[in-house]
Protein backbone atom coordinates (compact mmCIF):
# COMPACT_ATOMS: atom_id res chain seq x y z
CA UNK A 1 0.00 0.00 0.00
CA UNK A 2 2.66 2.60 0.91
CA UNK A 3 4.67 1.52 -2.15
CA UNK A 4 1.60 2.06 -4.35
CA UNK A 5 1.00 5.51 -2.83
CA UNK A 6 4.61 6.55 -3.44
CA UNK A 7 4.52 5.13 -6.99
CA UNK A 8 1.31 7.03 -7.83
CA UNK A 9 2.73 10.22 -6.32
CA UNK A 10 5.81 10.13 -8.55
CA UNK A 11 3.68 9.12 -11.55
CA UNK A 12 1.51 12.22 -11.04
CA UNK A 13 4.53 14.48 -10.65
CA UNK A 14 6.29 13.19 -13.79
CA UNK A 15 3.14 13.19 -15.91
CA UNK A 16 2.44 16.82 -14.99
CA UNK A 17 5.99 17.86 -15.86
CA UNK A 18 5.96 16.14 -19.25
CA UNK A 19 2.36 17.15 -19.96
CA UNK A 20 3.36 20.83 -19.74
CA UNK A 21 6.52 20.36 -21.81
CA UNK A 22 4.66 18.49 -24.56
CA UNK A 23 2.69 21.52 -25.80
CA UNK A 24 5.04 23.88 -27.59
CA UNK A 25 4.01 27.55 -27.58
CA UNK A 26 4.40 28.63 -31.20
CA UNK A 27 3.94 32.38 -31.82
CA UNK A 28 3.15 34.11 -35.09
CA UNK A 29 4.69 37.56 -35.24
CA UNK A 30 5.26 40.19 -37.90
CA UNK A 31 3.97 43.47 -39.36
CA UNK A 32 0.22 43.93 -39.99
CA UNK A 33 -1.49 42.37 -43.03
CA UNK A 34 1.21 39.85 -43.96
CA UNK A 35 -0.84 36.70 -43.40
CA UNK A 36 -0.13 35.62 -39.82
CA UNK A 37 -3.73 34.73 -39.05
CA UNK A 38 -4.17 33.19 -42.50
CA UNK A 39 -1.21 30.89 -41.84
CA UNK A 40 -2.39 30.05 -38.30
CA UNK A 41 -5.87 29.36 -39.73
CA UNK A 42 -4.42 27.07 -42.37
CA UNK A 43 -2.55 25.01 -39.77
CA UNK A 44 -5.55 24.89 -37.41
CA UNK A 45 -7.92 23.89 -40.19
CA UNK A 46 -5.55 21.18 -41.46
CA UNK A 47 -5.11 19.60 -38.03
CA UNK A 48 -8.16 20.52 -35.93
CA UNK A 49 -10.84 21.45 -38.46
CA UNK A 50 -11.32 24.88 -36.86
CA UNK A 51 -9.88 28.33 -37.47
CA UNK A 52 -8.16 30.60 -34.97
CA UNK A 53 -9.44 34.00 -36.11
CA UNK A 54 -10.91 36.17 -38.86
CA UNK A 55 -8.93 37.61 -41.75
CA UNK A 56 -9.45 40.74 -43.83
CA UNK A 57 -7.74 42.94 -46.42
CA UNK A 58 -8.11 45.81 -43.94
CA UNK A 59 -4.92 46.01 -41.83
CA UNK A 60 -5.06 45.29 -38.11
CA UNK A 61 -7.88 42.77 -38.37
CA UNK A 62 -6.31 40.83 -35.48
CA UNK A 63 -6.35 43.22 -32.54
CA UNK A 64 -6.13 40.70 -29.68
CA UNK A 65 -3.77 37.79 -29.09
CA UNK A 66 -5.61 34.62 -30.16
CA UNK A 67 -4.91 31.05 -29.08
CA UNK A 68 -5.52 27.51 -30.24
CA UNK A 69 -4.42 24.79 -27.87
CA UNK A 70 -3.67 21.10 -28.44
CA UNK A 71 -2.93 21.46 -32.15
CA UNK A 72 -1.26 18.17 -32.99
CA UNK A 73 0.81 18.53 -36.15
CA UNK A 74 1.86 15.33 -37.84
CA UNK A 75 4.61 15.30 -40.45
CA UNK A 76 6.44 12.26 -41.89
CA UNK A 77 5.53 10.07 -38.95
CA UNK A 78 6.53 12.68 -36.37
CA UNK A 79 4.00 14.34 -34.08
CA UNK A 80 4.19 17.47 -31.98
CA UNK A 81 1.51 19.26 -30.01
CA UNK A 82 1.40 23.03 -30.19
CA UNK A 83 -0.35 25.92 -28.59
CA UNK A 84 -0.64 28.36 -31.47
CA UNK A 85 -0.45 32.03 -30.49
CA UNK A 86 -1.56 34.43 -33.20
CA UNK A 87 -0.61 38.03 -32.43
CA UNK A 88 -1.68 41.46 -33.70
CA UNK A 89 0.72 42.95 -36.25
CA UNK A 90 3.41 45.15 -34.75
CA UNK A 91 3.66 48.67 -36.15
CA UNK A 92 5.22 51.95 -35.06
CA UNK A 93 2.38 54.13 -36.33
CA UNK A 94 -1.38 53.78 -36.68
CA UNK A 95 -3.55 56.30 -38.51
CA UNK A 96 -7.30 55.76 -38.50
CA UNK A 97 -7.52 57.54 -41.89
CA UNK A 98 -5.87 54.48 -43.49
CA UNK A 99 -9.01 52.48 -42.66
CA UNK A 100 -11.28 55.02 -44.39
CA UNK A 101 -9.83 53.84 -47.72
CA UNK A 102 -11.66 50.56 -47.09
CA UNK A 103 -14.98 52.40 -46.86
CA UNK A 104 -15.10 52.25 -43.09
CA UNK A 105 -17.00 54.95 -41.19
CA UNK A 106 -14.91 57.50 -39.27
CA UNK A 107 -16.13 56.38 -35.82
CA UNK A 108 -15.50 52.73 -36.62
CA UNK A 109 -12.05 53.57 -38.05
CA UNK A 110 -11.05 55.50 -34.91
CA UNK A 111 -12.22 52.64 -32.71
CA UNK A 112 -10.25 50.14 -34.82
CA UNK A 113 -7.14 52.32 -34.52
CA UNK A 114 -7.47 52.47 -30.73
CA UNK A 115 -7.92 48.70 -30.51
CA UNK A 116 -4.94 48.20 -32.81
CA UNK A 117 -2.63 50.21 -30.51
CA UNK A 118 -3.65 48.02 -27.59
CA UNK A 119 -3.11 44.96 -29.75
CA UNK A 120 0.49 45.96 -30.51
CA UNK A 121 1.21 46.41 -26.80
CA UNK A 122 -0.30 43.00 -26.01
CA UNK A 123 1.68 41.42 -28.83
CA UNK A 124 4.96 42.72 -27.43
CA UNK A 125 4.12 41.54 -23.91
CA UNK A 126 3.57 37.98 -25.15
CA UNK A 127 7.07 37.75 -26.69
CA UNK A 128 8.44 36.52 -23.36
CA UNK A 129 6.12 33.51 -23.27
CA UNK A 130 6.97 31.90 -26.59
CA UNK A 131 8.92 28.64 -26.99
CA UNK A 132 9.50 29.34 -30.68
CA UNK A 133 8.37 31.99 -33.15
CA UNK A 134 7.46 32.16 -36.81
CA UNK A 135 8.03 35.68 -38.14
CA UNK A 136 5.73 36.14 -41.10
CA UNK A 137 6.74 38.70 -43.71
CA UNK A 138 5.16 39.84 -46.95
CA UNK A 139 7.47 38.60 -49.73
CA UNK A 140 6.56 41.65 -51.85
CA UNK A 141 7.55 44.22 -49.21
CA UNK A 142 10.95 45.62 -48.20
CA UNK A 143 12.26 43.33 -45.42
CA UNK A 144 14.59 45.99 -43.96
CA UNK A 145 11.72 47.51 -42.00
CA UNK A 146 12.96 48.30 -38.48
CA UNK A 147 9.97 46.52 -36.89
CA UNK A 148 11.17 43.21 -38.39
CA UNK A 149 14.69 43.78 -37.12
CA UNK A 150 13.43 44.77 -33.67
CA UNK A 151 11.28 41.63 -33.34
CA UNK A 152 14.17 39.39 -34.41
CA UNK A 153 16.54 41.20 -32.04
CA UNK A 154 14.18 40.66 -29.11
CA UNK A 155 13.79 36.96 -29.86
CA UNK A 156 17.55 36.50 -30.16
CA UNK A 157 18.04 38.28 -26.82
CA UNK A 158 15.52 35.89 -25.23
CA UNK A 159 17.15 32.88 -26.98
CA UNK A 160 13.87 31.95 -28.66
CA UNK A 161 14.28 29.97 -31.93
CA UNK A 162 13.06 31.82 -35.01
CA UNK A 163 11.81 30.79 -38.44
CA UNK A 164 11.23 33.46 -41.05
CA UNK A 165 8.36 32.83 -43.43
CA UNK A 166 7.90 34.93 -46.54
CA UNK A 167 4.23 34.75 -47.51
CA UNK A 168 2.55 35.74 -50.77
CA UNK A 169 5.17 34.16 -53.06
CA UNK A 170 2.36 33.72 -55.59
CA UNK A 171 2.49 37.47 -56.33
CA UNK A 172 4.70 38.83 -59.16
CA UNK A 173 6.51 41.33 -56.94
CA UNK A 174 7.59 38.62 -54.46
CA UNK A 175 11.35 38.58 -53.94
CA UNK A 176 12.44 35.79 -51.62
CA UNK A 177 16.14 36.39 -52.28
CA UNK A 178 15.84 39.91 -50.85
CA UNK A 179 14.41 38.47 -47.65
CA UNK A 180 17.14 35.82 -47.45
CA UNK A 181 19.74 38.57 -47.90
CA UNK A 182 18.15 40.65 -45.12
CA UNK A 183 18.23 37.73 -42.65
CA UNK A 184 21.23 35.59 -43.64
CA UNK A 185 21.53 33.94 -40.22
CA UNK A 186 18.01 32.52 -40.27
CA UNK A 187 16.08 29.90 -42.20
CA UNK A 188 13.76 31.65 -44.65
CA UNK A 189 10.87 29.71 -46.17
CA UNK A 190 8.79 31.12 -49.00
CA UNK A 191 5.12 30.10 -48.98
CA UNK A 192 1.76 31.06 -50.31
CA UNK A 193 -0.90 30.43 -47.69
CA UNK A 194 -3.60 31.43 -50.18
CA UNK A 195 -2.64 28.64 -52.63
CA UNK A 196 -1.04 26.23 -50.16
CA UNK A 197 2.39 26.48 -51.82
CA UNK A 198 5.42 25.03 -50.06
CA UNK A 199 3.62 24.17 -46.82
CA UNK A 200 5.44 20.84 -46.64
CA UNK A 201 8.76 22.66 -46.34
CA UNK A 202 7.19 24.93 -43.72
CA UNK A 203 6.10 21.96 -41.56
CA UNK A 204 9.52 20.35 -41.93
CA UNK A 205 11.14 23.60 -40.76
CA UNK A 206 8.80 23.79 -37.77
CA UNK A 207 9.87 20.33 -36.65
CA UNK A 208 13.55 21.19 -37.17
CA UNK A 209 13.11 24.40 -35.20
CA UNK A 210 11.45 22.58 -32.29
CA UNK A 211 14.72 20.68 -31.71
CA UNK A 212 16.38 24.00 -30.76
CA UNK A 213 14.04 24.64 -27.82
Amino acid sequence: MPVRIIRNFFKRIFSNIFKNKKEVKLGFYGPPNVGKTSLANRICKDFTGEEIGSVSKVPHETRNVQFKEKVEIEYKGKKLTFKLVDTPGIATKIDYEEFLKYKMKKGEAKERAKEATQGVIESIKWLDDMDMVVIVLDATENPYNQVNITIVGNLVARKIPVLIVANKIDLKKADIKKIEAAFPEYDVIGISVKYGENLEEFYESIFDLSKKI
Binding site: I90, I94, D95, N142, Y144, Q146, T150, N154, A157
Partner: protein
Amino acid sequence: MKKKVKKGLKIKGFTIQFLPYSEIRDLDSDKRVKKILGIVMNNNILLIQGRLRPEEETRLIEETMDMIHQGKNDFLGIELAVISDNGDSNFFSKIKKSLVNALSGGDLGAVTIVGPATIVKEIKKNPKKIELLLDR
Protein backbone atom coordinates in the same frame (compact mmCIF):
# COMPACT_ATOMS: atom_id res chain seq x y z
CA MET B 1 -14.72 84.11 -66.60
CA LYS B 2 -13.46 82.99 -63.22
CA LYS B 3 -9.72 82.81 -62.78
CA LYS B 4 -8.48 79.90 -60.73
CA VAL B 5 -6.02 81.00 -58.11
CA LYS B 6 -3.56 78.31 -57.15
CA LYS B 7 -2.96 78.27 -53.43
CA GLY B 8 0.69 78.07 -52.45
CA LEU B 9 1.96 74.97 -50.67
CA LYS B 10 2.57 75.55 -46.98
CA ILE B 11 5.67 73.77 -45.69
CA LYS B 12 5.31 72.89 -42.03
CA GLY B 13 8.36 73.56 -39.90
CA PHE B 14 10.30 70.82 -38.24
CA THR B 15 13.73 70.45 -36.67
CA ILE B 16 16.41 67.82 -37.11
CA GLN B 17 18.05 67.27 -33.76
CA PHE B 18 21.21 65.32 -33.06
CA LEU B 19 21.40 63.49 -29.74
CA PRO B 20 24.89 62.32 -28.71
CA TYR B 21 25.02 59.00 -26.87
CA SER B 22 26.44 60.76 -23.81
CA GLU B 23 23.01 62.43 -23.32
CA ILE B 24 21.28 59.07 -22.79
CA ARG B 25 24.09 56.78 -21.64
CA ASP B 26 23.41 57.25 -17.92
CA LEU B 27 19.62 57.07 -18.19
CA ASP B 28 17.72 53.89 -17.40
CA SER B 29 15.68 52.32 -20.22
CA ASP B 30 12.39 53.96 -19.20
CA LYS B 31 13.86 57.47 -19.00
CA ARG B 32 15.78 56.92 -22.24
CA VAL B 33 12.61 55.99 -24.12
CA LYS B 34 10.58 58.83 -22.56
CA LYS B 35 13.28 61.38 -23.47
CA ILE B 36 13.39 60.22 -27.10
CA LEU B 37 9.62 60.18 -27.44
CA GLY B 38 9.31 63.58 -25.79
CA ILE B 39 11.66 65.13 -28.35
CA VAL B 40 9.95 63.42 -31.31
CA MET B 41 6.46 64.44 -30.17
CA ASN B 42 7.58 68.07 -30.45
CA ASN B 43 7.88 67.68 -34.23
CA ASN B 44 11.59 66.87 -34.20
CA ILE B 45 13.35 64.35 -36.36
CA LEU B 46 15.90 62.84 -34.04
CA LEU B 47 19.30 61.44 -35.01
CA ILE B 48 20.70 59.48 -32.07
CA GLN B 49 24.32 58.46 -31.91
CA GLY B 50 24.25 54.73 -31.17
CA ARG B 51 21.29 52.43 -30.92
CA LEU B 52 18.82 51.24 -28.35
CA ARG B 53 18.85 47.68 -27.05
CA PRO B 54 16.17 45.46 -28.68
CA GLU B 55 14.07 45.53 -25.49
CA GLU B 56 14.33 49.35 -25.47
CA GLU B 57 13.17 49.49 -29.09
CA THR B 58 10.09 47.45 -28.17
CA ARG B 59 9.58 49.67 -25.12
CA LEU B 60 9.68 52.67 -27.48
CA ILE B 61 7.03 51.03 -29.67
CA GLU B 62 4.85 50.29 -26.60
CA GLU B 63 5.12 53.87 -25.35
CA THR B 64 4.38 55.15 -28.86
CA MET B 65 1.22 53.05 -29.03
CA ASP B 66 0.17 54.33 -25.62
CA MET B 67 0.58 57.95 -26.79
CA ILE B 68 -1.48 57.27 -29.95
CA HIS B 69 -4.16 55.60 -27.83
CA GLN B 70 -4.32 58.65 -25.57
CA GLY B 71 -4.84 60.85 -28.63
CA LYS B 72 -2.21 63.38 -27.56
CA ASN B 73 -1.53 66.22 -30.05
CA ASP B 74 -2.92 64.15 -32.98
CA PHE B 75 0.14 61.92 -32.60
CA LEU B 76 0.09 59.07 -35.12
CA GLY B 77 3.28 57.29 -34.15
CA ILE B 78 6.86 57.24 -35.33
CA GLU B 79 9.08 56.11 -38.13
CA LEU B 80 12.20 54.36 -36.90
CA ALA B 81 15.36 53.14 -38.57
CA VAL B 82 18.84 52.16 -37.45
CA ILE B 83 21.94 52.40 -39.60
CA SER B 84 24.80 50.34 -38.27
CA ASP B 85 28.02 49.00 -39.60
CA ASN B 86 27.22 45.36 -40.34
CA GLY B 87 29.79 45.16 -43.08
CA ASP B 88 32.32 42.36 -43.39
CA SER B 89 35.13 42.78 -40.94
CA ASN B 90 37.85 40.46 -39.77
CA PHE B 91 38.05 38.78 -36.37
CA PHE B 92 40.28 41.43 -34.79
CA SER B 93 38.09 44.30 -36.02
CA LYS B 94 35.10 42.62 -34.45
CA ILE B 95 36.94 42.20 -31.15
CA LYS B 96 38.02 45.86 -31.23
CA LYS B 97 34.45 46.96 -31.97
CA SER B 98 33.07 44.81 -29.11
CA LEU B 99 35.60 46.34 -26.73
CA VAL B 100 34.73 49.90 -27.78
CA ASN B 101 31.02 49.14 -27.41
CA ALA B 102 31.56 47.61 -23.97
CA LEU B 103 33.62 50.58 -22.75
CA SER B 104 31.27 53.22 -24.13
CA GLY B 105 28.09 51.37 -23.14
CA GLY B 106 26.62 51.37 -26.63
CA ASP B 107 27.13 50.77 -30.34
CA LEU B 108 28.61 54.18 -31.25
CA GLY B 109 29.04 53.08 -34.86
CA ALA B 110 25.28 53.15 -35.33
CA VAL B 111 22.83 55.99 -35.93
CA THR B 112 19.18 55.73 -34.93
CA ILE B 113 16.66 57.89 -36.78
CA VAL B 114 13.30 58.55 -35.13
CA GLY B 115 10.73 60.88 -36.63
CA PRO B 116 7.05 61.67 -36.01
CA ALA B 117 4.81 59.91 -38.54
CA THR B 118 3.04 63.25 -39.21
CA ILE B 119 6.28 64.55 -40.75
CA VAL B 120 8.15 61.42 -41.85
CA LYS B 121 5.89 59.46 -44.16
CA GLU B 122 8.34 56.58 -44.52
CA ILE B 123 11.96 55.65 -43.92
CA LYS B 124 13.07 53.37 -46.73
CA LYS B 125 16.06 51.29 -45.93
CA ASN B 126 18.06 48.80 -47.94
CA PRO B 127 21.61 47.65 -47.25
CA LYS B 128 23.26 50.46 -49.18
CA LYS B 129 21.14 53.54 -48.51
CA ILE B 130 18.45 55.10 -46.41
CA GLU B 131 15.75 57.53 -47.61
CA LEU B 132 13.47 59.73 -45.57
CA LEU B 133 10.20 60.50 -47.32
CA LEU B 134 8.63 63.57 -45.76
CA ASP B 135 4.93 64.37 -45.67
CA ARG B 136 4.05 67.96 -46.67
